[in-house]
């Protein structure tokens, strides 16, 4: 199955092996005709209107501003509704260095995102700590703190790279199982057991 998005030719994407592997894993035990069709419909909508959280700590955030402005214009792909509240956002573009003091705040923002949620690690600081890796006050990559879906390298990545990164995320969303997959709903009791109130 050739998974593509925004009328991009399949061969224009680089790591197609990954997405093929993902499709294989998901479809291993077959797909229900009815549920599968609904999945396709819902994923078509989800993958085409990804809402980012306005979250930037440093340089990459400015490129994210450029991405939103007229020249690179992410609005044409349906990603323009940058939300200031995590409860309304689909994914979080971690644009910038995450330092020790920011980690609890960052983790809380991630927890506040509504499921299904995704994370893009944008720029070398978010990926590994970047030029500040040896510092006493910098997290060495955000992968230890939250699960990451897409890595966008660069210091800072160009807006084009960011577009490519979000497209990769969009492709991933397109093949996911929605019902019984990412749309899991925890029972209230289960949730409270996992997150006890003291």
């Amino acid at each position: 199955m050739e998974v593509t998005t925004k009328s991009m030719p399949y061969s224009a994407f680089k790591d197609n092996e990954y997405i093929e592997q993902l499709v294989k894993e998901i479809q291993e035990s077959g797909t229900n005709v009815i549920v599968g069709s609904f999945d396709k419909l819902i994923n078509w909508g989800r993958s085409n209107s990804l809402w980012p959280l306005t979250f930037a700590t440093s340089c990459c955030g400015i490129e994210f501003v450029s991405l939103g402005a007229a020249r690179f214009d992410m609005a044409r792909f349906g990603w323009e509704v940058a939300r200031a509240s995590p409860r309304q956002a689909d994914f979080m573009m971690v644009a910038g260095t995450i330092v020790n003091r920011m980690v609890p705040v960052f983790r809380r923002l991630y927890d506040q995102l509504a499921e299904p949620k995704y994370v893009i690690a944008c720029g070398s600081c978010a990926i590994s700590g970047g030029p500040f890796r040896k510092s006493y006050h910098v997290a060495k990559g955000i992968e230890d703190i939250v699960p990451v879906d897409v890595f966008v390298p660069g210091c800072p990545p160009r807006p084009e790279a960011m577009i490519y990164g979000i497209m990769q995320l969009s492709r991933k969303i397109k093949v996911e199982k929605f019902f019984g997959g990412v749309n899991r709903q925890e029972k209230q009791e289960e949730f409270l057991k996992a997150h006890p109130i003291d």
Binding site: F55, S58, G61, I62, V99, P104, V105, Y136
Partner: protein, 544 residues
């Protein structure tokens, strides 16, 4: 300078003097006499030292101490005072000067955070960047960087409503607790994740209805420890961090630190490199001010402006990209000149920019500056007087909007600025509108500088030969440059090796955040966004 030396010698007979690498007089005075000397220097009738440029904390292994850089706004005379802390390494202490210069309170907190030097009588002796449970003082030479001591935690950091005050009673240091807020204050938290704080800055705001009673600024959510990192890198390697502090002034900061290194190494830079550097500085100033206008107007609800201003910014980024190969982190100026020669169509591109700029500025004024909503929201809001601007170290466009002529390009003309024809934009009002308008004025002046240079880029080499291994002689240097947001100072101390002993960056944005409380108190909470936006601080720059 001789007068200054006589003056200090008279006030503090035990003082010893030397001249540092940049020709600034340095007096070393005993800690006991420091406060009285500071008071006398600041209250001097003819040339009061009313501008505290920065406080450089330092660890000389056998002792800890501070170097205070002072400047007089009347005659631009500058001196530095070195004070070695009293007490042992456990509790070193110096008298606070926060009663003389308002900004000293924040600067002293920074020194306390990094070196653990206690300032007696400072009303707020908390850590500034690191959280309250942090173990050790990171910029001390014997700091243990083991991540096991200060692990990364996803648990919320502990927070205290109290601050510490140290006083001296009968020769003993007494530690006291002081509440930050009144016990029945209603405190609202704003940030660190908030679209209008321009980065990860956090305010705890005590409000009375809609009126702001007190603001407590929390920094350090993007503190990356650049100064400590620089101590383990060779001189040319330290440069690249400067692109990532105030990411709009990357070119200017590079220029500044290169000037300092070149002064220390006695390197004469070719005329061509100087012209290129100045042009790059001014281009980035225009790009930076354009982005300021866009984001500031967006904060106030005028989203359209962002698209209009970014149009010019993108054009400038294209010019940068052709020459430097990057849109933001250029790493362009290097010791001896610039990294590579300018692109063949650089001059043509700059000319094309200069052609479209006047029409753009006209457009900005038409859609925003004269807008009645903008006027109502900005005029008379957040007035900062000239005296307070000096006392709080508010330099750059914000300081000049308060009537303080503090442009380092004019005060201490570096590179070729002395021979260029441009004006220093000063406005007397001191409100948010003046701070906005001054950015437009400065774009015009930068364009004027570019117009003078674009046809006069001399031939020659773009980078002179420098030794493969850069070793600075023993000594210390201090260099001020005019960043896009104000005066940026660099202090370097060398022991003759390939790595700096201490590299201090005195950023313009730290005082800008320090003055927020003073300006906003008594205003409405909605004006916090207007005022904060007009100050135009960049959080990674203040946190470093």
């Amino acid at each position: 300078m001789a007068n200054l030396q006589e003056k200090i010698a008279k006030l503090s007979p035990a003082a010893t003097f030397e001249i540092d690498g940049t020709g600034i007089l340095q007096a070393t005075v005993p800690a006991k006499e420091w406060h009285d000397l500071a008071k006398a220097l600041r209250d001097d009738k003819e040339t009061p030292m009313d501008y505290l440029v920065t406080i450089v904390g330092a660890d000389w292994v056998e002792s800890l101490g501070c170097i205070y850089y002072l400047m007089s706004t009347t005659d631009r005379s500058m001196c530095s005072v070195k004070v070695v802390a009293e007490g042992d390494r456990e509790t070193p202490y110096i008298d606070s000067v926060s009663d003389l210069w308002h900004i000293a309170e924040i600067y002293e907190r920074e020194v306390y955070d990094f070196f653990g030097i206690i300032f007696i009588n400072n009303k707020d002796m908390r850590r500034l960047f690191l959280n309250i449970d942090w173990v050790g003082y990171p910029l001390r030479k014997d700091y243990d960087e083991d991540p096991a001591i200060n692990p990364i935690s996803i648990e919320n950091e502990r927070q205290s409503d109290n601050t510490t005050v140290y006083t001296k009673e009968d020769g003993k240091i007494v530690k006291k607790e002081r509440a930050i807020f009144h016990h029945d204050d209603f405190v609202v938290n704003i940030g660190p994740q908030h679209p209008a704080t321009h980065g990860v800055l956090r305010f705890r705001t005590a409000v009375d209805g809609e009126t702001i009673k007190k603001i407590d600024v929390y920094m350090g959510y993007i503190h990356r420890g650049v100064e400590k990192l620089c101590e383990s890198l060779q001189y040319p390697q330290t440069l690249h961090f400067l692109d990532r502090l105030d990411y709009f002034s990357g070119q200017v900061y590079h220029h500044g630190l290169c000037l300092l290194y070149e002064k220390a190494l006695n390197i004469e830079v070719s005329r061509r490199a100087q012209v290129i550097r100045v042009m790059m500085d001014e281009l980035s100033r225009i790009a930076s001010h354009c982005l300021f206008m866009g984001t500031y107007c967006m904060d106030l609800g005028a989203t359209t402006m962002l698209f209009y201003t970014l149009r010019v910014r993108e054009q400038i980024l294209d010019i940068f990209e052709k020459t430097c190969g990057a849109r933001m982190t250029f790493n362009y100026a290097c010791i001896g000149g610039v990294m590579q020669d300018i692109a063949p169509d650089f001059a043509a591109d700059v000319k094309a920019l200069l052609e479209v700029l006047p029409a753009n500025i006209k457009e900005y004024n038409k859609i925003f500056t004269g807008n009645v909503i903008a006027k109502n929201r900005m005029e008379g809001v957040g007035v900062l007087s000239r005296e307070d601007a000096i006392s709080y170290d508010v330099t750059g466009p914000a300081g000049r909007a308060s009537g303080w002529a503090c442009d380092m390009r004019k005060l201490f003309p570096y590179s070729i600025y002395g021979e260029l024809d441009f004006e220093q934009c000063v406005r007397p009002e001191g409100d948010s509108m003046a701070r906005f308008k001054i950015h437009i004025d400065e774009i015009e002046q930068s364009a004027k500088i570019l117009a003078q240079l674009v046809d006069n880029i001399p031939e020659g080499e773009y980078c002179v030969k420098v030794p493969k291994v850069v070793k600075l002689p023993k000594g210390q240097w201090f260099q001020l440059v005019e960043g896009c947001r104000g005066a940026c100072g660099f202090y370097v101390e060398s022991d003759g090796s390939t790595k700096p002993v201490r590299l201090k960056i005195a950023p313009p944005c730290l005082p800008l955040a320090g003055v927020v409380e003073h300006i906003t108190t008594g205003n409405k909470i909605a004006d916090l966004i207007t005022i904060g936006g007009s100050l135009d601080y960049i959080v990674p720059d203040m946190d470093r």
